[in-house]
């Protein structure tokens, strides 16, 4: 081979293009995914003059191939010769931005946005902006939809005449005939506002915003709510009342629940964007209405925001607003007919206690917590329990403990194992907050009962829970309260319970320390090596391997080694296997 000719002749382009045209889609896809390899083999010039034109002309492929192509081209700048040639990538990406399939189009737009940054200001005007214009005035909605995502990336870097054109195109698309394009424009309205000069924001964007927010289709209107956040953030405070608020008020009372839902969902952002005065005068009543909305979806979305909304209220009137306006609504939500609403509320309501302080919490919130702790829906109760730490800081958990206990007990015995699992996970947290005495008195039996649950996942979680409790309460506590009970299960007639003993020992040995492990646990384990169930025996081998590092070498040599050697000659092959594994890991061979 004539090496001196360089890469360009290494591979004839025809061979490579054949790969990109292979009949088998999978092979074609593989080739496209390695397009950069092909481009490297061709060199920058032939990539520009031969590969890219080929790609531009043959965009009639499977969407999956097109998606890969759209993605590849976004990283092609160096392969076509750097920023000064980056505009060569525009033709194929332009075609990709017009295809039907949304994922392909979105990826093409993403790549276009990426390479727009690599264009010089001149190239941007000469090559990129005309492309945006062509897309914006395309026949089919797909190209116009794609154009919406490109305005904001080129606007800041072009001359004022071109800027005027871009604004005009954006205006046209906001009033497009098809709702698909209006939706795309509405979803980019906030982004576009951010790059616009303030004067144009007031003169252009506000009218577009108002129009989109009163579109005939609710799918367009709800997107305007999102834009509302950005627009309100950008405008000076004194303009908000006249330019934004009429539209926002209207959205909060829209006849479509989807729009109201969107307002509720974005409420904290809106609150920050419009500032404290408007919040006091407008958002508080609007929020009250959303909390009382007739559609459960909307109420749930609003309930989720209760804490954040209250937290961000202006400090001077926060308490008064919460007490007189928000709390009455919250009280009603506690007995809502919809469980999703109640559980959304339960996940944030505890956070109010830090805001309202001790006295108000005891007087007003505590009854609500207690009511929710007795709710028929376990998710509501779980949400309350999982947030106990907030209340603990303010009033101490004792206030709640009398109601807490029945709630915990009921959850602990729930028929659904996932509910039981969830409450187990909160046990260490509860134990820490309720203190060791309360725990011993009321909760210890529960924790032990879980060890013999008939679902393995619960037994496993219970084991892990014990370990965390020991870490919290210390080895001495373990020795007195749980170790005897755990070891007692070693004589249980049910082999699953006997195995639980072993699993507990695995988990507890480290936390309990060498003394307890050697003196109390090890004898039990060793005794179980003669169990008649093979599963128990090989778990003995596994346990010995696990607790070995905690034991001293004397115990290992004199007690563990003989047992493992015996197990290594067991009739059951699994027992043999695990015994041998333990011997080699503990280096007892």
């Amino acid at each position: 081979m004539a090496g001196a000719d360089g890469d360009d002749s290494l591979y004839p382009i025809a061979v490579l293009i054949d790969e990109l045209r292979n009949e088998d889609v999978q092979l074609r896809l593989n080739s496209i995914k390695k397009l950069s390899t092909i481009a490297l083999a061709l060199g920058v010039e032939r990539t520009r003059t031969e590969l890219l034109p080929f790609l531009t002309d043959t965009i009639y492929d499977e969407d999956e191939v097109l998606l890969a192509l759209a993605e590849q081209l976004g990283n092609f700048t160096m392969l076509v010769g750097g920023p000064e040639y980056v505009h060569c990538l525009l033709p194929p990406l332009e075609s990709l931005a017009t295809v039907e399939e949304t994922v392909v189009r979105d990826k093409a737009v993403e790549s276009l946005r990426k390479i727009s940054q690599e264009h010089s200001p001149v190239d941007l005007e000469v090559h990129f902006e005309p492309l945006v214009k062509r897309l914006a005035s395309g026949d089919w909605f797909t190209s116009r939809t794609s154009a919406c995502g490109l305005f904001s990336v080129c606007y800041p870097r072009v001359s004022s005449t071109v800027k005027a054109e871009i604004r005009q195109h954006f205006r046209t698309l906001c009033a497009d005939d098809t709702p698909m394009v209006r939706r795309a424009a509405a979803s980019k309205l906030g982004e576009f506002s951010k790059v616009l000069e303030l004067d144009y924001l007031k003169s252009d964007i506000i009218s577009l915003f108002t129009a989109l927010a009163s579109d005939e289709q609710d799918s367009v209107r709800l997107l305007a709510v999102e834009a509302c956040v950005s627009i309100a953030t950008l405008l000076p405070q004194e303009d908000l009342e006249t330019l934004v608020m009429p539209t926002l008020r209207q959205a909060a009372e829209d006849k479509s629940w989807r729009v109201r839902y969107m307002v509720a969902d974005k409420f904290s952002e809106l609150q920050k964007a419009v500032g404290p005065e408007i919040t006091k005068n407008d958002l508080v009543p609007a929020f009250q209405n959303l909390l009382k909305d007739c559609e459960a979806e909307v109420r749930a979305a609003a309930a989720n925001k209760v804490k954040e909304f209250c937290e961000n209220l202006p400090e001077d009137s926060r308490e008064q607003i919460i007490m007189t306006h928000i709390l009455p609504c919250v009280k009603e939500l506690v007995s809502d007919t919809n469980q999703h609403v109640k559980s959304a509320l339960a996940s944030v309501i505890m956070g109010l206690s830090t805001i309202l302080g001790k006295d108000n919490t005891i007087e007003h919130l505590l009854p609500l917590f207690l009511a929710q702790l007795k709710d028929e829906c376990p998710e509501v109760r779980l949400n309350i329990i999982s947030n106990l730490d907030c209340v603990n800081e303010v009033i101490g958990i004792r206030q709640l403990s009398q109601s807490l206990l029945p709630a915990i007990v009921e959850l602990a015995e729930d028929a659904k194992w996932r509910v039981r699992l969830a409450i187990i996970e909160y046990m260490p947290l509860l134990a820490g907050q309720l203190g060791v005495e309360f725990f011993d008195e009321k909760l210890n039996t529960l924790c032990m009962a879980w060890l013999i649950d008939h679902v393995y996942a619960i037994r496993e979680a219970a084991t892990c829970n014990l370990m965390k409790l020991v870490e919290k309460f210390g080895a001495e506590w373990a020795q007195n309260t749980i170790v005897p009970k755990v070891l007692g299960m070693a004589n249980d007639p049910n082999y699953l319970h006997r195995m639980t003993t072993l699993f507990c020992i695995n988990a507890l040995s480290e936390a309990c320390g060498q003394d307890i492990t050697t003196k109390q646990m090890l004898p039990v384990v060793l005794k179980m090596s003669t169990d008649q169930v093979a599963n128990v025996r090989f778990n003995v081998a596994k346990s010995l391997q696990k607790i070995g590092p905690v034991l001293d070498s004397n115990a290992l040599q004199t007690e563990v080694k003989p047992v493992l050697e015996k197990l290594a000659t067991d009739t059951d092959m699994d027992v043999k296997y695990f015994a041998q594994e333990a011997i080699s890991v503990l280096a007892l061979a």
Partner: protein, 524 residues
């Protein structure tokens, strides 16, 4: 059914998942059977909030007893009375009012259906207003977010006892011999139609059934709205395909379109062809295809029967969207292909046979026996068989290798015996070609293996090359950075010159790099 008195502050909050077994949200796997076991629930739309205060209804005299002079006036009053909405979730609320409205609606239906001369111009706005107030509402959120129309019971509209009569009235109104499109078009306008179309998303099949007939009548009688209706249906479909994948009334809308397509004038307008290619064909990609596939296939075949030249678009479109992983959909596609082949013109068949039979061969080799079986059934269809026979020279080489291989490999005995039949048919059709292909099968296999090896070699070479290049590029970048740093230190006051130097840099680099790579190549 929930009958609890609702709190006074929200006089009509919609039913909510009260009966959902508690903790189901926590248990991540609500079982299908359990979900289905839930009792049928009904929901109502969020419109009551906007009705300020309930009006007390008083019964009016019967229409049939009214003197002719007062008939229209009374009719109008009854229409106005029917504009009052009731809360049906609270089934004991205002029973008297509900009964009065029901009776009034019944009378209106009866009157429009049977007596002549009732529909005079002043009644049109009143009638349309009554209809709008009752039927146009924001549909409530679906109670079951993963609602599967094939598996789950739909949520029914609570206010159906009234709503049905309103729809019935609307239908009789449109069908009345007295109905004057020229008067109606002032009230049944674009906005009205748009709202009507949105209602097709209703989960209640009874409502969609009424809407279907009504929209069909509107399309038939109000010619000025036709193009608009088609365009809006397109928008609904496009949104369904590319944005939400959710719309309950696709089947109903397609059913209407089926008869609309039937009435298209020839030659087909560009707009209609575009609808076929850019809307109907992509509808095949929907996840829920099975719900509306029959109607969709009907529309597609209608198009072909109108104008045979669209055949190629259709077949190539279906091949483009051929299901990759969903065998259930693949069977549907094969069914549709057979429907198409049943009416295909032989001249059109020739244009698509190659890609089509490659796909059919792929289906025959599917490990899912229903897919393979469905494809092999094509050979039982006499018309298709005659097309295959005419083009045996082209088709047999396309499918032979697959048939030969699958006949030896397929796990399912039925498939194997079906394939033997197909092979036998081919043997009878053209024994010479069949023998040639059998003889060359092994050679072809070898060639294919060789091609695969060559491809692997090519890519190995390319990748090695890439690794070398990447190494050099990073080196070059490092050198350039060093140079630049040195330049900056030595010559700080020219900030513009590095930029031009920068953009010139990449050009000479590759050639320099490539010559060294070439040297490396010859050394090895």
């Amino acid at each position: 059914m929930e009958t609890t008195k609702l709190p006074p502050s929200s006089p009509s909050s919609p039913t909510t998942s009260f009966s959902v077994p508690s903790a189901e949200k926590v248990d991540g796997f609500p079982r299908r059977s359990m979900r289905r076991a839930r009792q049928r629930r009904s929901h109502s739309s969020s419109q009551f909030r906007y009705q300020s205060s309930q009006v007390e209804l008083t019964p009016l005299p019967l229409l049939k007893d009214a003197p002719v002079a007062e008939l229209h006036d009374l009719f109008c009053k009854k229409l106005q009375q029917c504009c009052v909405l009731f809360d049906f979730l609270d089934c004991v609320a205002d029973l008297k009012g509900k009964e009065i409205k029901r009776a009034a609606l019944n009378e209106l239906v009866e009157s429009v259906a049977t007596s002549r001369g009732v529909l005079i111009e002043p009644l049109y706005p009143e009638a349309i207003k009554m209809i709008s107030v009752n039927i146009f509402r924001t549909l409530p959120p679906s109670e079951n977010p993963e609602f599967d129309p094939e598996e789950d019971e739909p949520t029914l509209e609570a206010s159906w006892p009234h709503l049905q009569l309103v729809y019935e009235f609307f239908l009789r109104f449109l069908e009345s011999p007295d109905f004057q499109p020229s008067m109606a078009k002032r009230y049944v306008d674009q906005k009205f139609v748009l709202q009507l179309l949105e209602l097709f998303d209703s989960e209640d099949p009874r409502e969609r059934e009424y809407l279907k007939t009504i929209l069909h009548r509107v399309y038939g009688k109000l010619l000025g709205l036709r193009a608009y209706i088609r365009k809006q249906i397109n928008n609904i479909f496009l949104r369904f395909i590319y944005e939400t994948e959710h719309f309950n009334g696709v089947a109903e809308l397609l059913e209407i379109l089926g008869s609309i397509i039937n009435g298209f004038a020839l030659p087909l307008k560009a707009e209609h062809k575009q609808f076929l290619v850019r809307v109907l064909i992509p509808l095949h990609t929907a996840k829920s295809l099975s719900i509306f596939h029959a109607q969709l296939a009907y529309c597609v075949v209608q198009f072909m029967e109108k104008d045979a030249t669209v055949t190629e678009y259709i077949i190539r479109g279906l091949l483009k969207y051929w299901p990759k992983t969903c065998t259930q959909k693949e069977v549907m596609f094969l069914g549709e292909i057979e429907e198409i082949l049943d009416v295909i013109e032989p001249s059109q068949f020739i244009r698509v046979q190659e890609p089509l039979f490659k796909q059919i061969a792929a289906c025959i080799s599917s490990p899912h026996f229903q897919v393979a079986e469905r494809a092999l059934y094509f050979w039982n269809n006499e018309y298709i068989l005659s097309l295959i026979e005419e083009n045996c020279q082209v088709i047999l080489p396309l499918v032979f290798a697959t048939l030969y291989r699958v006949s030896k490999e397929h796990w399912n005995q039925t498939i194997v015996s079906l394939i033997y039949n197909v092979l036998k048919t081919f043997m009878e059709m053209n024994s010479k070609l069949f023998d040639d292909l059998t003889a060359s099968y092994k050679v072809e296999k070898q060639k294919e293996l060789k091609r695969e090896r060559e491809r692997a070699d090519l890519w190995r070479g390319l990748e090695e090359h890439q690794d070398r290049r990447m190494q050099m590029l990073t080196e070059a970048a490092r050198n350039q950075r060093n140079l630049q740093e040195r330049g900056e230190r030595g010559d700080p006051p020219s900030p513009s010159s590095p930029q031009t130097a920068h953009s010139d840099q990449p050009e000479p680099k590759p050639s320099g790099a490539s010559s060294s790579s070439g040297a490396g190549e010859s050394a090895t």
